[in-house]
């Protein structure tokens, strides 16, 4: 009797055994991957640069330093004394502040584009995959049709017709980004649909849309996160591409693509810092996202294990 009591007490006081969830497992795997962790650190640093930058920059991103103007190649060099840590651009505006601003825009475009694709694409794909049959057929044909259109041109058309604005850029990029995600989500849903837990939910009378939200989508999340991480850099590349052509964000706002374009235009004048500063952040961030994305894929995607 006493013995059982002791055991019962023991059991009551003992810490509950912690099972290793899928996510804990994935986290452990992710942090073992050195390249992925390095990528994550880089991304955190770049984000910090974008967030803290405006508070430490001695100059504003749109103010022109009149002392520099007319002699940018000499006076606009990167230096600590003038407060132009990255130098100035061709118009005498502080490049550090502008790079900070461009980083904000580029990161935001990337993240918003990926978010739109996650929300729209996942829902679309999950619905198509879950209902199947003719609805699936029609929905995926639509995706096929949209995919075979040269999007960059339509996006530029949109920007020109409806005016260049941040909102239009987001809409345009959102329009492109969800297609791949919808395909991926559909494929995954097709395999999930036949699983027992979905069958159980159907048997207990859960409404179809609720099954999609509560049972299908949480199970898609791993794959979705991986592709979302890999989408962010491609969104950044899209935006930079458009800004490079001079059709993206409008002055005095800027983005990496616009800064790289400006820098490239001034290359002949020996003011290389104008190209190198934004280029550095662009390249480093893309590397960061690709490595984190690869790391997440190894950690979350059971296919490649």
């Amino acid at each position: 009797m006493l013995a059982t009591k002791a055991i019962a007490d023991d059991l009551a006081t003992a810490a509950p055994i912690k099972g290793r969830s899928l996510w804990a497992d994935a986290r452990a795997r992710f942090f073992r991957n050195r390249a992925a962790v390095a990528g994550l650190v880089v991304l955190v640093l770049v984000t910090a640069f974008a967030l803290i930058g405006p508070f430490i920059a001695p100059w504003n991103y749109e103010d022109i330093d009149w002392n520099v103007l007319g002699n940018v190649a000499e006076a606009g060099r990167p230096s600590l004394e003038t407060g132009h840590w990255f130098g100035t651009d061709a118009l005498g505006r502080d490049l550090f502040a502008r790079t900070v601003q461009g980083t904000q825009v580029s990161l935001m475009v990337g993240v918003v584009g990926a978010l739109i694709s996650v929300i729209v694409g996942t829902l679309y794909g999950a619905i198509a995959g879950y209902y199947g049959g003719r609805l699936d057929n029609i929905m995926m044909r639509i995706v096929d049709v949209l995919m075979s259109i040269p999007y960059m041109f339509v996006l530029i058309l949109l920007l020109v017709v409806f005016g260049r604005s941040m909102l239009m850029l987001f809409i345009g990029i959102g329009l492109i980004s969800w297609l791949d995600m919808a395909r991926i989500a559909r494929g995954q849903t097709l395999t999930l649909r036949g699983k027992e837990f979905v069958e159980a939910a159907v048997a207990t009378g859960v409404a179809p849309f609720r099954i999609i939200l509560r049972h299908i989508i949480p199970n898609l999340l791993g794959v979705v996160i991986v592709y979302a991480t890999l989408l962010v850099p491609s969104m950044i590349i899209y935006e930079s591409f458009i800004s490079f052509l001079g059709l993206g964000v409008q002055e005095p706002l800027t983005s990496w693509g616009a800064l790289i374009n400006d820098g490239a235009a001034e290359m002949n004048n020996g003011t290389l810092w104008m190209l190198l500063a934004p280029l550095f952040f662009f390249v480093v961030t893309l590397f960061g996202f690709f490595f984190v994305g690869d790391g997440l894929r190894d950690a979350l995607d059971p296919k490649d294990r």
Partner: protein, 307 residues
């Protein structure tokens, strides 16, 4: 096979029509007349101009004319800015240029990328493999609009080997930098894809059988492994083609090659809707046609696909 091609064509034609109509609707809803300028044009002149270009007609008449013009006569209509030129003239000027460097970029991307990927897989975990993987990772973060300035910086400004722009009727010196800038990222993707699929094929059972029979390695690779390994590369050719068409805009702008992209951006900047629409539709048609070609090629090569 014929039935498959016809079926795919039947899908491609509506897509093309949707593209044309969508582009037209977009342009139609655009605020402001293409002839409105800052100085303000007298209403009578504006009305005359619009009548001349048929813009005073009802919507359905306009769109009918546009679609019929393209389908029957391959006529993309007039430019709204350059009064003496129509879209076909501009396309006729720019398209051969785009086609020239686009073709070479495609050849370079496929040949170099494919060779690199397959060599890397055959020599798995040697320096060659690491080189290929390194190159393809590096090229991922260097899209053409980033690579182009770097190439000009190195080869034109520092080394002075190659001209940093211009076309000169397509002499080889003027083609090299555009081709490198355009093809690198696709070359890297193709290398990555072909390496991965070759690695998979090389570990499969039929390759083990072939080697167990004592066939020389070269014969195993060329006769048995190459074909299945290249299938994923073929399915990537469609997206690569689209990417190159898009990239050609950057190349034209950056290297002033005078290709079709230059007209596209110029027309986008001065709101020449006629040219923008024409180029979008033309490139869309090309894309759809090329995807069709790739699909057919794939179905023809892959015995697993039934049509």
């Amino acid at each position: 096979m014929i039935a498959f091609i016809i079926k795919r064509l039947l899908v491609a034609i509506p897509v093309l029509l949707i593209l044309i109509i969508g582009t037209f609707v977009l342009m139609y809803t655009a605020p402001g007349s293409p002839f409105a300028s800052e100085r303000g044009v007298p209403p009578a002149v504006l009305a005359n101009l619009e009548a001349q270009y048929g813009l005073d007609q009802p919507f359905f008449v306009q769109i009918w004319r546009y679609v019929v013009g393209i389908v029957t006569q391959f006529d993309f209509g007039p430019s709204f800015i350059y009064r003496d030129q129509d879209v076909n003239d501009l396309i006729g000027q720019g398209f051969p240029v785009t086609l020239t460097y686009g073709f070479w970029s495609f050849v370079v991307a496929v040949l170099v990328g494919g060779t690199l990927g397959i060599l890397a897989a055959v020599r798995h975990n040697t320096w060659l493999d690491y080189l290929a993987v390194g190159v393809s990772i590096g090229a991922q973060v260097l899209p053409n609009f980033v690579l182009a300035p770097i190439l000009v910086l190195v080869f034109t400004l520092w080394l002075g080997w190659l001209p940093g722009g211009g076309w000169q009727g397509g002499q080889w010196q003027f083609i090299i930098l555009p081709v490198i800038a355009l093809s690198t990222s696709f070359m890297a993707s193709i290398a990555r894809i072909s390496r991965a699929s070759m690695l998979e094929v090389l570990t499969s059972n039929f390759i083990r059988t072939a080697r167990a029979k004592g066939l020389p390695m070269r014969r195993v690779i060329f006769r048995h492994a190459l074909k299945p390994a290249l299938l994923p590369v073929i399915s990537y050719l469609g997206p690569a083609f689209v990417g190159m068409i898009t990239g050609s805009v950057v190349i034209d702008i950056y290297f002033s090659t005078g290709g079709i992209g230059q007209f596209f951006v110029a027309s986008a900047l001065n709101r020449d809707y006629g040219v923008m629409m024409g180029i979008t539709v033309l490139l869309g048609a090309l894309t759809i046609f090329f995807n069709l070609l790739v699909d057919i090629l794939y179905a023809w090569i892959d015995p697993k696909i039934r049509y």
